[in-house]
Symmetry: C3
Subunit: 165 residues, 3 copies
């Protein structure tokens, strides 16, 4: 998604310090996103997170998202081609296959694979915010992943710490 680089491999990285310390104290705001999932799959919550920042009056700082479940999780992935999300779903199913080989089966055959998929992805995401906007790349969207087969009500805790407008 980015153009091939023309710099020398022998010069692998360059720090680019954009700002001196801002001499403004930090404050915080918190909230929730509630997601009604439709069963196993991805829900884009980028807009909800952006609305939380706008409503809070966030300027520059850190947005934390934290999912309050052990069979749903978070990821940041490509927001352009929906085939990517379908392939990611297949990849997770392949890494944590359904089957009768699990000890933990009392909540249904899709529960233990859901815990494994949660462990392999993210329970929390930390996203820097500059000028009121998450510093997401062009192709990055924020997703909740439902790992259970049936629809569920899911909750993401939000916290912004930083400067406000």
């Amino acid at each position: 998604m980015t153009p091939p680089d023309t710099r020398r491999p022998s010069d692998p990285s360059v720090a680019d310090l954009k700002s001196a310390p801002k001499q403004l104290g930090l404050f915080q705001s918190h909230g929730r996103i509630r997601v009604a999932t439709d069963g196993c799959g991805f829900t884009d919550v980028t807009g909800d997170a952006a609305r939380f920042l706008a409503t809070s009056g966030a300027d520059t700082g850190l947005l934390t998202l934290f999912v309050r479940h052990t069979s749903a999780s978070l990821t940041i992935q490509e927001n352009a081609d929906p085939d990517v999300l379908a392939d990611l779903k297949d990849a997770l199913a392949s890494l944590a296959p359904s089957g009768a080989h699990y000890r933990h089966g009392c909540e249904g055959p899709d529960d233990m694979p859901a815990h494994i998929k949660t462990m392999l992805t993210c329970v929390s995401l930390a996203i820097p915010v500059e000028d009121g906007r998450m510093v997401l790349g062009t192709w990055q969207g924020v997703y909740l992943i439902e790992h259970r087969s049936k629809p569920h009500a899911r909750e993401i805790a939000l916290l912004f710490q930083g400067s406000f407008r």
Copy 2:
């Protein structure tokens, strides 16, 4: 673990802003959790993290846990049925099998699988805190995962940033 949702799939998410920015400056406190592991497996450190918050006088903000090792890691997982942890351990062993096919073998056959398992799980966790408590869901516990076969002494760095009582 959550009840089936009754909202429309066409209304996938709702932001629920609980608070305006708190007009109180932020402060911080840091510490350590030391864990004596008993070899490969999970150690629940939720109580230790909660004690750190209580002792610090933390009110609302962000708790960060950071494991200072490359063959042990962190996860948040179900705290109810111990079979879940046993199945997770098996799943990690399946994703990073022991064997003679690794280049890196000088620290024993369990070391390279331990590095892979660390890469697939978490080195740091960011957990929002409200009213002195981590906003964990009902079934969420915070675990250190030991990936080496023998007992080890492990250290988790803790940082709370936010408001204090």
Copy 3:
């Protein structure tokens, strides 16, 4: 990498609170690391992150690194034996194999595996900082992982929040 522990397994963890809340308000600084990758593999950015902290005058707090891409990611891994990084690269290739079985193929056969590898590793890292230094363990290095075959220009957003010298 740590010595075998001699404490009782029945005493699995001990909180070690090093500090009372510091009664100093928190401030922040942000920047970028730009990485010219040489194709699939690991680039050590630990020194760049340390230079950002030094230039910012950071004292104690939290450093967040966030990669702005969906086919490159972050990890913290062993910095001693380069064979570890080669084995980790093989492990990721095994977990997300190349092949014709993906729906998403329009950006080349290495693109969908790159998205899966990104999902299984980290888009953001949260590293506590004490006395101007990241609290990394002896063997921990911070790496950007390029998952595409060809060289790319990658960008990591940096944010430090805490106290300054």
